[in-house]
C-alpha cells in the first residue's frame, strides 16, 4: 500500500485509465509510418551515409586523414568517445539508481532513456575501434585472446584495457536490462496485434510472456537485482573512462578528482540528451500526460545539481594546480584558460557552469523552450569539456619545440557526423517500432498517482492489506 502524498502532483495527468495507457503508447507502434517520421529517418540516413563515406575513407587510408599531429595524438576521436559514453549514462541512472531510490517519476522516461544509453554506447564504441588505425586487428589488442606470439596477453595494468571490459559490460548489461523491461510491453502489443506479422514478430520479441503472478514476482526480483548491479556499474564505467587520463603523467590529466568529476559530467550530459530527445518525442507523440512538467522539472533539477558539481570540479582543479606548486601543472591550467584554445575553455565554462545555473529560476526550468535550448547548450558544453581536457593538455607538452595546434579536417567532422547518423537512425527506429514508454510500469504507478482513478478508488475490498495501511478515503489530490 502506498502512502498518499497530498502535496505531490500526480505523475500521470489527464485522468488516464489503464486502457488509455495501452492505447496511447501502442497506437504509435501499430500505426503506419507517417511522413514526418519518414522525413526524420531520411535525414538521419543522410548523415549516416555521408559520414559513412568519410569513415570508410578514413579506415581505408588510415587516421592520417584526421588532423592529428605528433604532439596531439588524441583529439576528436577520444573527445567523441568520452562524450558519447557520458551521454550513455543517463539511461541506466534513471532506470537503476532512481529505481533503488523508489523515484516513481522515472517510469515515464526510463524506456527511452535506456534506449538512448544503448545507442550512445554503440556510438562511443565506434571511436576507440576507429582510432586504432587497423581496427581489424583490434580484437588481439583489446581482448585477452591467445595469439601467434606464444600468447602474449593483453596488459591488465592498463586503464585502456579496463575500459574495454567496462564499456562492453556496461553495454551488454544495459541491453539486457532494457530488454527485460520491454518483454511485458511486447506481450501487450502481441495481444493487441491484428496483423499476422505483428502477432508473430511481437510474439517472438515477447518471449511468450504471459504476465502470470509468479513470473511477475521473479521479474520484479530480477529488475531489482539488475538495478542493484547497474548502479555501481554505471558509476564504475565513467570512473574507468576517467582513469584513461587520470593514471597518466600528463599535467592536466593526472588528477585524482577525475573519477567523481567525470561521473557527474556524464549524468549532466546524459540528462541533457534525454531532455532533448524526450521533448521532441513528447511533442510528436503527444505524450504530455505521461511526461509532465513535473518530469521535466525533475530532470532540470538533476542537471542543475550535476552542473554545479562539474563547475566546482573545474574550480577545484585550478586551485589544486596552484596549490600543488608544480609548475607544469600550473602551466597546463593557465594555458587552458589563456592559451591558444582559450575559446574552447570559455565555451565550456559558459555552457556547463553558467547556463545550468539558470535552472534556479522556476520559470525557466518549467519552460519547454528554455529547457530544450539549455539541454542542447549543455551538450555542446560537455563536448568542449572533453576537447579541452584532451587537446589543451597535449598541444603544449614538455618541449616548446614540439608545441603544436590541432585543427580538425573534414574527416574529423564527418566521422563525428557519422556517429550522429548511427544514433538518430537507431533512435527513430526505436521510437517507431518499440513502445517508447514502459506501459507496465506506468500502469503500476497509475493508481497511486492519477486523479481520476484516485477518486474512484476502491477501499472496501482492500482486506488483504493490514488495517493501519489502508487508504480510507481520498477526497482530492
Amino acid at each position: 500500500m502506498q502512502i498518499v502524498s497530498q502535496v505531490r502532483e500526480p505523475l500521470i495527468t489527464g485522468g488516464k485509465t489503464y486502457k488509455d495507457i495501452t492505447n496511447d503508447i501502442s497506437r504509435h507502434v501499430e500505426a503506419a509510418p507517417n511522413k514526418r517520421w519518414l522525413a526524420a529517418v531520411a535525414v538521419s540516413l543522410t548523415l549516416l551515409v555521408a559520414g559513412g563515406y568519410f569513415m570508410a575513407d578514413m579506415l581505408w587510408n588510415g587516421i592520417g586523414r584526421w588532423g592529428l599531429n605528433k604532439t596531439v595524438g588524441w583529439a576528436w576521436d577520444i573527445t567523441n568517445f568520452v562524450w558519447w559514453v557520458g551521454i550513455g549514462h543517463a539511461g541506466t541512472l534513471i532506470s537503476a539508481i532512481l529505481l533503488l531510490f523508489r523515484q516513481k517519476w522515472r517510469t515515464s522516461i526510463n524506456r527511452a532513456a535506456e534506449a538512448m544509453t544503448i545507442f550512445a554506447v554503440i556510438c562511443a564504441a565506434i571511436w576507440p575501434i576507429a582510432h586504432m588505425g587497423r581496427p581489424w586487428l583490434g580484437a588481439y589488442w583489446a581482448l585477452p585472446l591467445p595469439n601467434t606470439f606464444g600468447s602474449l596477453w593483453v596488459n591488465f595494468n592498463s586503464p585502456l584495457l579496463w575500459d574495454v571490459f567496462a564499456i562492453s559490460t556496461y553495454f551488454s548489461v544495459s541491453l539486457v536490462f532494457w530488454y527485460i523491461g520491454l518483454i511485458p510491453d511486447f506481450a501487450t502489443i502481441r495481444d493487441r496485434a491484428t496483423s499476422k506479422i505483428g502477432r508473430l514478430a511481437y510474439g517472438m520479441l515477447s518471449f511468450g510472456f504471459d504476465g502470470s503472478a509468479k513470473t511477475w514476482m521473479h521479474y520484479e526480483s530480477v529488475s531489482l537485482i539488475l538495478a542493484g548491479l547497474s548502479t555501481p556499474l554505471v558509476l564504475s564505467v565513467h570512473t574507468i573512462v576517467s582513469f584513461d587520463f587520470a593514471t597518466s603523467v600528463i599535467p592536466g590529466w593526472h588528477t585524482t578528482i577525475f573519477p567523481p568529476y567525470f561521473v557527474a559530467g556524464a549524468i549532466f550530459s546524459g540528462f541533457a540528451m534525454v531532455l532533448t530527445l524526450m521533448l521532441i518525442t513528447r511533442h510528436v507523440y503527444k505524450l504530455q500526460d505521461y511526461i509532465t512538467m513535473e518530469h521535466i522539472e525533475m530532470m532540470n533539477i538533476i542537471i542543475l545539481v550535476t552542473g554545479s558539481i562539474v563547475g566546482i570540479a573545474y574550480i577545484t582543479e585550478f586551485f589544486i594546480a596552484w596549490y600543488s606548486g608544480v609548475q607544469y601543472e600550473q602551466f597546463a591550467f593557465v594555458n587552458r584558460m589563456t592559451g591558444p584554445y582559450w575559446w574552447a575553455y570559455w565555451s565550456m565554462m559558459t555552457c556547463n557552469v553558467v547556463s545550468p545555473q539558470l535552472f534556479y529560476i522556476k520559470k525557466i526550468r518549467t519552460n519547454i523552450a528554455w529547457t530544450f535550448f539549455l539541454s542542447i547548450v549543455v551538450n555542446i558544453g560537455m563536448w568542449f569539456e572533453r576537447f579541452v581536457i584532451i587537446v589543451t593538455s597535449l598541444h603544449r607538452d614538455y618541449l616548446p619545440s614540439s608545441w603544436a595546434y590541432f585543427t580538425p579536417t573534414i574527416y574529423d567532422i564527418m566521422c563525428y557526423v557519422f556517429t550522429f547518423g548511427v544514433f538518430f537512425t537507431f533512435f527513430f527506429l526505436f521510437a517507431k517500432f518499440f513502445p517508447v514508454i514502459n506501459m507496465a510500469e506506468v500502469k503500476a504507478v497509475l493508481k497511486d498517482s492519477d486523479t481520476k482513478v484516485y477518486k474512484g478508488r476502491v477501499t472496501i475490498s482492500d482486506d488483504y492489506v493490514p488495517e493501519e495501511d489502508r487508504v480510507k478515503e481520498v477526497e482530492s489530490v
Partner: protein, 203 residues
Amino acid sequence: MEKDKNFIVGVFGDHDILLGAVKKVREEGIKIYEVFNPYPVHHLEDALGYKRSKMPVAAFFFGLTGTTCAILMQVLMMGVDWPMIIGGKSFIAVPDFVPVTFEMTVLFAAFGMVGTFLFTRDLKPYKIPRVFDRRSTDDKHIMAIDIADNKKSPEEIKSLLQEVKAEEVYDKEFTNEENSGSFINYVIDLFTNGVTSSSRQLN
C-alpha cells in the same frame, strides 16, 4: 475432469479488489491455478502464498563465479603464463586487477540471473504462451481456477467469484494443441487462418 484443460476464469478490473478476492477465494479452500496481471501487483505473491523469489541467490553465485574467473584469468595471464615487468609493478599487481574483476562480476551476475529467469520461467522467442484472456496484458487481472484441482463444483466456484466482485466469470477450455503449442504449428495456423477471434479490435 482432466487436469490443465478446463478452467474457470474470473476477470477483475482493480488490483485492490483482486487482492481481496484472492484472499477470500483461498480462505474458502479453493486452489487458484494462477493469476495474470498487466503489471506487477505488490502483495499478490504473498496473497497467493508463493515463496520468495530465489533470483538474488542465483545472481550471487553467478557473480561469485565471475569474480573467480576474473581473478584466475588475470593472475594466470599476467603472473604465470607470460610475466612481464610493466612500469616496475609486481607481476600480480592486485589493485590493477580490481576494475576488470568488478566488471566481470557484474557481467556474470547479470547474465546468469537473467538466463536463470528466462530458463525457469520458460521464456524464449519460440514459446507460444497459453493465453487465458488477452486483456490480461492490457487492463484486466485474470484469475484462473483449474476445475480438476478443486473438489468444489464449478457452480460454487463461479458464485464465489461473483461474490468477490469479479467483473466477468466464464469457462475456458483449452485444446491439446493449445496446451502444448508447437511453434511451427502456431506459425502455420497463423498464416493460414489469420489472426482469428482471439484478437480484439483496436479502440
